[in-house]
């Protein structure tokens, strides 16, 4: 046994093992997005429904015929992309319905945007699944979806008061995720209204 050779060769294993070890710390399923921390892309889209009262929020919901993201600056916005053909969207639907009902009329605004879907199909789907207490927007030509770098549906963007994307969530949302994210964004200081105000 030539020990010098043996030790030298064994040292060759270090980079290989290091590389694999590094790999273990990564999540291969994570889809990188440059958006978190940056200003959310603006949009102004027509609403095909203003939403409707739900079991948890039987009171009225405000009528809306279009939504401009810029005019919501200063408030917390939860932007949910969904589609009537998407199965995972069925899973998160009751969650959105339940949680959003708690925030109707507050400084937390839920907004739905349909992705690769027809408004007629989406309305039929909402009829079947039960109403959401917030507006759903049409996105002709998927412009907003492209701006947000959508990978699939459902995806949910949490937008802070300063207009920056705080978090992007891929896949169905859960009660816990929504509650913790919304409350921490809500607790943040309202930026100086006159400066950051209307565009």
């Amino acid at each position: 046994m030539k020990w010098k050779f043996a030790v030298g060769a064994a040292a060759l294993a270090i980079p290989a093992v290091g590389l694999l070890g590094f790999g273990l710390t990564r999540d291969p399923g994570a889809i990188p997005s440059p958006l978190p921390g940056r200003l959310a892309p603006t949009f102004a889209l027509p609403a095909f429904t203003s939403g409707a009262p739900t079991a948890q929020h039987p009171g009225p919901v405000p009528a809306v015929d279009s939504v401009r993201l810029a005019s919501l600056r200063g408030d917390v916005v939860i932007l949910n992309f969904y589609a009537s053909w998407c199965l995972a969207c069925r899973d998160e639907h009751p969650v959105l319905q339940r949680v959003a009902s708690r925030y109707v009329g507050t400084d937390v605004h839920f907004v739905g945007i349909i992705y690769n879907d027809a408004t007629r199909a989406a309305l039929a789907w909402l009829n079947e699944m039960g109403p959401l207490p917030y507006p759903s927007l049409d996105d002709p030509g998927s412009r907003a979806a492209i701006d947000y770098g959508l990978y699939g549906v459902p995806e949910t963007f949490f937008i802070a008061r300063d207009g920056r994307v705080a978090l992007k969530h891929v896949g169905p949302v859960t009660d816990e995720l929504l509650a913790t994210q919304i409350e921490s964004l809500r607790a943040a200081q309202r930026p100086d209204a006159p400066k950051a105000g209307s565009p």
Binding site: K2, F5, A6, V17, L20, P28, P32
Partner: protein, 678 residues
């Protein structure tokens, strides 16, 4: 009860493995017969214990004992019995249990088969196998314990992953793969044993591991083919290979093992390549461990990935240990090994094997690079990249074409020296094949360079290898006045190694031709049809008759009845389906395939209207797909032929030049010759 029996058996087996490994090493060092038999007793009894644990798990699965955590995870009362049994390997913990079962089974078998051979490599090899086994047992009593007690006991479970219960090939692919992967532990263990005991000096260990290597290689080849077939029959994309990291992980050890099977012939004949062969078998084993790591740790995204946990770090530690130990052993002992002979002639079979080895190694390295590059890129530049088909195709296609050429030339090259005129004569027919193959491909409309080369050199290699059978049988017919069939049979029986190898070549070429044809001449169309409407793909008319739905055990099936119409008559029905399992939202596609030697008609149901008013289907017409599976079968058959034991090992040189008749006198003469030469 099942849980308690299982986990106790595993714990005892773990303790025994350590004791046994130490006893076996001590037995070899002190040359102690008592320690040696104690060590082997441990090998057998740990196998017995792991078998008991596996049996306990099977019992728990079949009796729906949901108090066992693994059963609660993958079992379901509505799953058919066959899928309940194979769910032994449907998830991480069960697959590791099955793995350990096979490993200890092989260790026991190796001890049984080789126990009478002189020297000490078996003790070391068994100790190595017990060590590897101990690693899997550590996983099983620790992070991958399948026998946790679940309380309160659930009434029913979710059932195995829908993808795994949708096709019977899933009963075949994983166990074959495990048999292949685990099988390579044995030649690796013997290589380590030969090094440590100093018996790598002579070439006997190579002869001993030949059978193990070929056996593991057959399993791995069959597993790869079965995996391709499953992907083709179930996933609905009409393809069979995607250079997915885990596919690559099974392909890399296959490449190095293929190289090893060829280069050990050079060592046996010429005493060359001693160190190279050690490296190859170590690389093969390390690549199987890497493959397991990639599937079990969730390090790369892949359809094969199991859910991850801390288990990745255990595997990382194991890989580190294996890498460090084997690199050190080979590098430390290699300088002491005798150097073998040198090449006598550039044109010789040795050269063909050397170049082939080189190409296989380059190919392995390329695939490894492509598989791990995303990790490297993320580490160095922090960006996410994916390496896909185009890279692998561009890098490997040229190598594959040259390999085809070598497979064609190899049989025509004798050992040591080649008579140029004889070589020309033997390459005459294959060259004719090359021209015919090229012309046929051109006529069929192939214009892609690599496709043309693959058809040309595929035909070249095919003719060359078939010619070996033809000339051999013809000579026998002339010399002994035998019938064609009996001449061929005796020719093959007389030298199974040689003709088994050629048969495996033929199978491989048939597969490659199938792959080349199906990927070059594929026609594909995706269309939405209403009942009564039809689509024409590659001259064939497919008409949607109706869309139907059905409730089965634990699943809902939606199917489209598609008629294949020819001359106004319905000649066949294809019924692609989508299966919805209760445990999952995503439907499992079930394409309908009509397969003939000439072409496959492949229809997949992509989407449907719930009222049955339309269906979106993808129709593919792919030539010669069946050749791939057929070729895979021939490959395994050929290797099996080469593996089939003789009563006594003959000196290969003798058998090659004098194919003996199966008469007692000859056999006795050969036995004497063996005694003299060995």
């Amino acid at each position: 009860m099942n849980g308690a029996i299982g986990i106790s058996a595993l714990r005892v087996a773990l303790a025994l493995s350590f004791v046994g490994a130490i006893a076996l090493v001590a037995a070899a060092r002190r040359n102690s017969a008592a320690l040696r038999s104690a060590g082997f007793a441990v090998v057998y009894s740990s196998f017995g214990l792991v078998a008991i644990a596996t049996l306990a798990m099977l019992t728990a699965l079949i009796s729906h004992d949901f108090s066992v955590s693994y059963v609660a995870q993958v079992g379901s009362r509505s799953t058919p019995l066959i899928f309940t049994i194979i769910s032994l390997w449907a998830a991480l913990e069960g697959s590791i249990l099955f793995w350990a079962f096979l490993l200890f089974g092989f260790a026991a078998l190796a001890a049984r088969i080789h126990r009478k051979e002189p020297g000490h490599s078996l003790e070391y090899a068994s100790a190595v196998l017990l060590g590897i086994g101990a690693f899997f047992l550590i996983l099983l009593v620790g992070p991958a314990n399948p026998f946790h007690v679940v309380s309160p006991v659930p009434l029913d479970g979710p059932g195995p992953n829908p993808l795994l219960q949708n096709h019977p090939l899933m009963a075949v692919h994983p166990p074959l793969l495990y048999l292949g992967y685990v099988g390579f532990s044995v030649p690796f263990a013997f290589a380590v044993g030969a090094l440590v005991s100093g018996e790598a000096q002579d070439d006997r260990w190579v002869r001993g591991v030949r059978g193990w290597t070929i056996a593991a290689w057959i399993f791995l080849s069959a597993a790869i083919i079965a995996g391709m077939w499953w992907s083709y029959e179930v996933l609905g994309w009409g393809g069979y290979w995607a250079w997915d990291p885990v596919e690559n992980a099974s392909f890399m050890p296959w490449l190095t093992a293929t190289a090893f099977m060829h280069s050990i012939m050079v060592q046996q004949r010429r005493g060359m390549l001693r160190v190279w062969n050690l490296n190859l078998i170590v690389a093969t084993f390390v690549l199987t461990v890497l493959g397991t790591f990639l599937t079990r740790s969730g390090i790369l995204s892949s359809v094969h990935a199991f859910t991850q946990g801390t288990i990745g770090y255990y595997f990382l530690g194991f890989i580190a240990l294996v890498l460090v130990a084997s690199l050190a052993l080979v590098a430390g002992y290699a300088p002491e090994l005798r150097r073998g002979g040198a090449l006598d002639d550039v044109l010789s079979r040795e050269t063909a094997f050397l170049v082939g080895n080189l190409l296989l190694s380059v190919m392995t390295f390329t695939v490894l690079l492509g598989t791990l590059f995303p990790l490297v890129a993320e580490l160095v530049r922090g960006v996410r990249v994916s390496v896909g088909g185009p890279f692998f195709n561009q890098m490997t296609l040229p190598i594959i074409v040259v390999m085809l050429f070598l497979i064609g030339v190899g049989p025509a090259l004798p050992w040591r020296r080649t008579d140029r005129a004889e070589l020309k004569r033997r390459l005459l027919a294959p060259t004719g094949g090359l021209i015919v193959g090229l012309l046929l491909a051109l006529l069929a409309g192939a214009r892609d360079l690599y496709a043309l080369l693959a058809f040309g050199f595929g035909a070249f290699a095919l003719v060359s290898n078939v010619q070996e059978f033809w000339t051999g049988a013809r000579d026998r017919m002339r010399a002994h006045g035998e019938h064609a069939a009996s001449a061929l049979g005796r020719l093959i029986a007389g030298n199974r190694h040689r003709y088994g190898g050629f048969l495996a070549h033929i199978g491989l070429i048939v597969s490659v031709l199938g792959i080349a044809a199906s990927s070059t001449f594929k026609t594909e169309r995706e269309i939405t049809l209403a009942p009564g409407e039809s689509v024409t793909v590659s001259g064939r008319v497919f008409r949607l008759e109706r869309v139907w739905g059905r409730q089965d055990m634990g699943r809902t099936s939606i199917g489209a009845d598609i008629a294949l119409v020819s001359g106004g008559r319905v000649v066949a029905h294809l019924e692609p389906e989508q299966h919805f399992y209760e445990s999952s939202d995503t439907p499992v596609p079930t394409p309908a395939v009509r397969s003939t030697a000439a072409r496959d008609l492949y229809v997949n149901l992509m989407a449907f209207k719930e009222d049955g008013s339309s269906a979106t289907i993808r129709v593919l017409v792919e030539p010669m797909v069946a050749w791939i599976w057929l070729g895979g079968g021939i490959v395994c058959l050929g290797a099996l032929l080469a593996l089939w034991p003789r009563r006594r090992r003959a000196a290969p040189a003798l058998a090659a030049t004098h194919p003996p008749r199966a008469s007692h006198a000859r056999r006795a003469a050969r036995r004497v010759a063996v005694e003299v030469t060995s």
